[in-house]
């Protein structure tokens, strides 16, 4: 997983750097508008809803994002996350462990008054996840069983699985304290590819959530907290 992060990171950093240059050129022509001089806005965020929900469910979830306002109302956003998700049911118990990365562009449709800095954005992201499953145990599905099927402890690994999808997200963020924002987002996701492990199936994807066996669509909600840096 580390190699993917290392490959993507330089690309993101270089995009951010070139965006800054564009912004400083634009400042002169922007004085026609009533906007104040806009410093480059970079924001860091953390999905607090997912973190808390995971902690309450014997799981771990860390979801961070960085976004930068590179041109007028456009933001470039980069999201990275790690999940160790436990799913327990009467038929299967397994852990999903993996990372995911998303890159996308958001557009702010909200025009702030004066000093306010809130957004309502809509955006598109491309996402990639790499993950493993650890199947802890299963119980055979035998309808009408007379001798109750026992739990089989197998602890079997299914490794190096991946999935790719598109996220269409609408997000609302409000500045609560100085430079601290609270936000809420809803996403419609569409899977474009995923692995086919032998003797198993892709059930849960970090960053995507549960996968419906008969559909490539998914839905998500996030509650996040973010902090803005000004340069």
């Amino acid at each position: 997983m580390l190699k993917y992060f290392i490959k993507i990171l330089p690309i993101i950093l270089s995009i951010n750097l070139s965006a800054q240059q564009q912004d400083s050129l634009k400042i002169n022509s922007d004085t026609i508008f009533s906007h104040k001089h806009q410093p480059v806005k970079i924001r860091f965020g953390f999905d607090i809803g997912k973190y808390v929900w995971a902690q309450l469910n014997d799981s771990e979830s860390y979801d961070f994002y960085v976004d930068a306002n590179f041109y007028k109302n456009y933001y470039l956003i980069f999201i990275a996350g790690y999940e160790d998700h436990l799913k327990e049911s009467s038929l299967l118990t397994y852990h999903t462990t993996g990372n995911y990365y998303k890159i996308g562009i958001d557009y702010n449709i909200y025009e702030n008054w004066l000093d306010m800095d809130n957004d309502i954005t809509i955006g598109v992201r491309y996402a990639y996840a790499g993950f493993d499953y650890l199947l802890n145990n299963y119980r055979i599905n035998q309808p009408g069983a007379v001798i109750t099927p026992e739990i089989n402890e197998v602890n079997e690994y299914f490794e190096n699985l991946n999935a790719q999808w598109f996220d269409f997200t609408a997000k609302i963020q409000a500045e609560t304290f100085k430079n601290v924002y609270l936000g809420y987002a809803v996403s419609l996701k569409y899977l474009i590819s995923y692995s086919h492990p032998e003797d198993f199936a892709v059930l849960y994807i970090p960053g995507f959530f549960e996968r419906n066996s008969y559909s490539n669509f998914g839905f998500g909600m996030q509650y996040f907290i973010s902090y803005r840096l000004k340069f």
Partner: protein
């Protein structure tokens, strides 16, 4: 607050579409076949092509004492023991009892997210040391129990 009207309309349409798509999706429920049952048909020993039904049949699992009861039937479907490679059953016709033990090799196969795993049974064999009473002969037609559409075993009486 200024948001161009078409953005709001666009978002509402998108949200409505999202709701529509996700709620109209086929439910992730178990529709695939799961663990098959052993299918036994009862035939006339003196006229081996014909089925001969039993009025009062009780089948007892020797390991647990659980009983299945059937009336006036020439075909039964029995869930086998998925925890072991052996299932010993006592077949009681009216008052007479015969013990039959089935041996097999289990294979656990993943079906789907909603269905989980199922067991298939291979190399079915039968131990007929204790059929002294009403069962005259037992014949295995299919050693592979992978579905329960047709009979795997014939019992002649």
């Amino acid at each position: 607050m200024k948001i161009k009207k078409y953005w709001i309309q666009g978002i509402i349409t998108l949200a409505f579409l999202a709701l529509l798509i996700t709620s109209c999706e086929k439910d992730d429920s178990c529709i695939d076949p799961t663990t098959p049952n052993l299918v036994i048909e009862f035939y006339d020993y003196n006229d081996s092509e014909n089925l001969k039904s039993i009025d009062n049949l009780n089948i007892i699992y020797l390991s647990t004492g659980d009983t299945l009861h059937y009336e006036n039937t020439d075909r039964v479907e029995i869930p086998l023991n998925v925890n072991d490679d052996l299932c010993s059953l006592k077949f009681i016709k009216d008052t007479e009892a015969d013990i039959v033990s089935f041996n097999y090799q289990r294979e656990n196969v993943f079906v789907s997210k909603a269905c989980g795993y199922k067991t298939l049974f291979h190399n079915l064999s039968v131990n007929i040391e204790n059929i002294d009473y009403w069962i005259k002969n037992i014949e295995i037609i299919n050693q592979e129990i992978v579905n329960d559409t047709s009979a795997h075993v014939k019992i002649f009486h």
